[in-house]
Amino acid sequence: MSDAAHTNSRPVAFRGGGFAPKQRRGMGVLVFVLLILLAEWGTRSGFISNLTLPRPSDVAMTFVELWQSGMLFKHLAPSLSRLAVGATLGALVGVGVGVMIGLFSYVRAGLVPLVAALFPIPKIALLPLFVIWFGIDEGSKYALIAFGTFTPTVVATYAAVDNVDRGLIRMGQSFGLSWWSIVRKIVLPGAMPGILSGLRISLAIAIILLVAAEMLGAEYGIGAYILEAGSLYDLERLFAGVVILSVLGVCVSAVIAAIETRVLRWRV
């Protein structure tokens, strides 16, 4: 069977492409830039009325003003400290309780139904209660953010502990490692990927609750700033506030991504 015998030879068509996401640098930024340019062009040409959408350049101007007047940091500082304290508290307690649920059958039997009952409560509905419990000042805001961060962290953590390879735990036992060593050197590192991906969600929820708490009673803070702008129908300032929140979200996500690449270097 030589080539000559088959006059109608042709290459086999390739059909194995696609379905494999690749990294495409700059696409994310491009989409942002295009949307902003579209809004700028629309508002300038009158295609989009100024009542529906503020002009991006005006929002930028407002932002610069905010920066120059020093008000940016007056609003940002209390917000960031509330977020830091509340989210840290909620995440720490959440990881702790989640690990306990993962390790002890009694704790699991006792707390899983409780967590299931707490999870769907819109935490913001409890703010009046928190104000009475923890005071009108920072305490109630910390508590609200901590509580909102706590529930998703617990669920992610105990699921992550459940997913640690039992074979590795048996290995630890077979080498006579102490219980504490097994928890510290096998269970916790093994649960780390799940805990970190849970934290991504918890921290996004923390930002949402931060704004909610500040809208309900704060003199300074991004939430208060947005609420004030909204009630005056000052769209430029409203959008400037929203942009700050988005940037905050992107930063938090970037921090977790950085932690992941550092801590989870071993992942295949």
Binding site: G167, L168, R170, M171, G172, Q173, S174, F175, G176, L177, S178, S181, K185, I186, P189, G190, M192, R265, W266, R267, V268
Partner: protein, 255 residues
């Protein structure tokens, strides 16, 4: 230190897995346990190391483990069971950390076992960077580090391709020749059994009972790949196991 199984039987719920197993594991020898799939050979090994309790009967430790033995009964697992977040060195270090050794003593043990398993230059690699054969060598190094009285090997070469398996068998033989160790080696591969075993215990299908114990007298170092005498032994074992294996296979289909 010897191990003895005395009248060991085991059931999982309704299923009887092992029936009246009596077996001695003398020190300095490699005892291979072969049998059709599902005959309870891995269960038997888990009992030997105290990871599972028999329904009836006893697992006895005869004599005391030699001095300097950190973990008398030490496993080598089929799936290697390496911590993916620790380097080769870190994985070996893990099993030494709970024994109150100072850092210098630990480092000395680690360097020694890595050299014996020819892993010195890979000390800082992560498991994901290693091939299957290398991973199992790390697991063997880890087992050697605690200076075990008995090594319990659960199909240690079954996850590897056949070339790697040959290489690792050679490694195990040279390790044993240089410093004889006691081992219980569970496998379904008869070629491995006749290469590595001083005694080969043939189990029947479920419920597992001892069908025959074959003693091999040829020294390990003289058993080569494709040896005619070994081939004959392997034929004999296959003769014993063939019907059992076929029956065990059919059993699964009928379930």
């Amino acid at each position: 230190m010897d191990l003895r199984l005395a009248g060991v039987s085991h059931t999982y719920g309704e299923t009887e897995v092992l029936r009246d197993i009596n077996l001695d594991i003398p020190s300095g020898q490699i005892v291979c346990i072969v049998g059709p799939s599902g005959c309870g050979k891995s269960t038997l090994l888990r009992m030997l190391g105290g990871l599972e309790q028999p329904t009836s009967g006893q697992v006895l430790q005869l004599g005391t483990p030699p001095a300097g033995c950190l973990n008398p009964l030490t496993y080598v697992f089929q799936d290697f069971a390496l911590l993916p977040w620790r380097s080769v060195r870190g994985n070996v270090a893990l099993v030494l950390e709970d024994h109150g050794l100072d850092a210098a003593a630990r480092a000395q043990i680690i360097d020694d076992v890595l050299a014996r398993t020819k892993l010195t230059e890979f000390a800082d690699a992560l498991p994901k960077q290693l091939s299957g054969g290398m991973k199992q060598r790390v697991a063997i190094a880890r087992a050697l580090a605690v200076n075990p009285a008995v090594m319990l090997m659960d199909e240690p070469l079954s996850a590897l391709d056949s070339q790697t398996r040959e290489l690792l068998m050679d490694d195990l033989i040279s390790l044993w020749t240089r410093q004889p160790f006691t081992a219980v080696y569970v496998t379904h591969n008869l070629a491995e059994a006749v290469r590595l075993g001083h005694r080969i215990v043939v189990l029947s299908r479920r419920p597992g009972q001892i069908r025959e114990v074959v003693e091999l007298t040829t020294p390990l170092a003289e058993r080569a790949y494709g040896d005619a005498a070994l081939e004959a032994q392997q034929q004999h074992l296959w003769g014993l196991m063939r019907e059992e294996a076929a029956a065990a296979d059919a059993e699964l289909i009928h379930v």
